[in-house]
Amino acid sequence: MAIAGTENGVTAELVIMQDAVKVYGRRKVLQDISLNVRKGECTALVGKNGSGKSTLLRMLAGLTRPTSGTRWVSGGRLVTGYVPERFPPLTFTPWEFLLSSAEVRGMKKESAENEIRGFLSQLGMESFAHVRMSQFSKGMLQKINLIQAMMGSPDLLVLDEPLSGLDIKAQENLEYILVGLKRSGTAIVMSVHEPKLIEQIADRVLLMKNGQIIKETSGKHLEAGTTTQIVLRGLNSSAVKRISEHPGIVGLAVRSDHCELEVRSEAADVLLRQILDSGGSIVSVIPNMGMNIPLGEWLQPAASEKGDQV
């Protein structure tokens, strides 16, 4: 197979999937998936329940074999970190579990301890390091789930709903950590429902439907077009005029009973506050990323994803 993206004889591709198909019983869960995962690149998978995101992630991580097609891995083996959708019920403390995981990975005890301490501190879990995880909430378990995957500077990080159950502060800290990992060359592939995480770290977004990648948006399109649609009502014409002068406004459509604003996502918070302060009310806020994909429809909250087991 020809390997694309080689620079100075060193391939940037970590995993290449070619026409991969996965069949369970009579059901084709993945169809003709061709995908390259490159070093230091972040890929976000979006799609509705049952679209095949979790199966694709497991296949990328090497946990599931394609029924047909190929999965090529750079150098034959990668150091992979994987965050399953649900963390297993374990009767260990985070310290015991993470240290054992590091030992299994072949990490040196001292460096593993330092890394664990750092991650626990960054995610606000240092005071729970020696508490049994059977007493943990979903969010706390998710933090341990993330730490076990990020330890040991993996080449490939596969995340299934990484923000699930995390509070805002932890989400921000995780974004910060993931950006750092990406900069150090870790390839990240994640299924995600939070537009903010996509905006922050994704280099490309793959839209999945019925086990197929139906749309791919990457690079400039993603950066240039990150917008949010705000539908509002209750503002008089002068207030609308004043708001429309904001530099964050990309488009404005005044309807009979409401207004539709297309705004740059980073300006959305300021504009929402301005609308409310001017006496208007918000009908809806839909991030559409400028990818010409109705992301509001695809980016469902993680809580509704329980059935996404394919």
Binding site: R58, G62, T64, G81, R86, F87, P88, T91, V104
Partner: protein
């Protein structure tokens, strides 16, 4: 693999799923030695069969105590499914060795035998226990949830195999000659038990031959298990 085997054993013991097979196996041994004196090799033959049954039971509870997500994480951490499977087997050898020590040492320390145990007998008994113990958990590998999602059916089928293995000698003797080759498919519990019981009647070569047959059978089971298992996906 040693690190993962250690973690798996810790995880297993913390879930207390070991308690029923451990208790049942020890109770069986205490019942056997509830009176004395006892014949040496006959007693060791019986306790090695106890270990075969106990190891099969313990193997099944051990293999099924790991949730699919936990299995996924272990495979990722250790780097391959094959290494994970070997770690499981490695972990299961530890209780077999512990049981062997108990079963061999207990009757000697408590003077349960009618005469001193000779070194050659001790070696045969140790090998018999270890081989039948490993054989027990090797059988359980084929009846774990990863292979048979219906747990009740898996237990029933494993029990049938265990029972048929124990009674193989008398069952096979009732078979007509053309189908007597079935004896080579069944786990060699009966020949090993026979060899240990008749160690004073059989030549040492015959007894060691039976034990060697058990070892070859284990290796074949392991090869078949690994050949099929490495082709499966991690559980979901």
């Amino acid at each position: 693999m040693i690190a993962l085997a250690r973690f798996l054993l810790k995880s297993y013991t913390r879930k207390h799923a070991y308690f029923a097979p451990l208790a049942a196996t020890l109770i069986a041994m205490f019942l056997l030695y509830s009176y004395k004196p006892n014949p040496v090799m006959d007693s060791y033959a019986v306790t090695s069969v106890f270990l075969f049954i106990g190891a099969a039971w313990m193997g099944l509870t051990f293999l099924n105590h790991v949730s699919p997500q936990q299995e996924q994480l272990h495979i990722i951490h250790i780097g391959s499914l094959k290494k994970y499977l070997f770690s499981q087997i490695l972990a299961l050898i530890i209780p077999v060795i512990l049981f062997t020590v108990i079963f061999i040492v207990f009757p000697i320390l408590t003077h349960m035998f009618n005469r001193p145990v000779y070194l050659s007998e001790l070696l045969m008994a140790i090998c018999g226990h270890v081989i039948l113990g490993i054989l027990g958990f090797m059988l359980s590998l084929f009846f774990q949830t990863a292979w048979m999602p219906n747990g009740t059916r898996a237990i029933a089928m494993m029990l049938i195999v265990v029972i048929v293995s124990l009674g193989a000698k008398s069952i096979i003797s009732r078979f007509p000659f053309p189908v007597s080759w079935i004896r080579w498919i069944l786990p060699p519990v009966s020949p090993i038990m026979d060899g240990l019981i008749n160690s004073t009647v059989f030549t040492p070569g015959q007894v060691w031959g039976a034990l060697g047959y058990g070892l070859v059978y284990i290796l074949l089971l392991c090869l078949i298990y690994m050949f099929i298992s490495v082709r499966r996906d991690a559980r979901t």
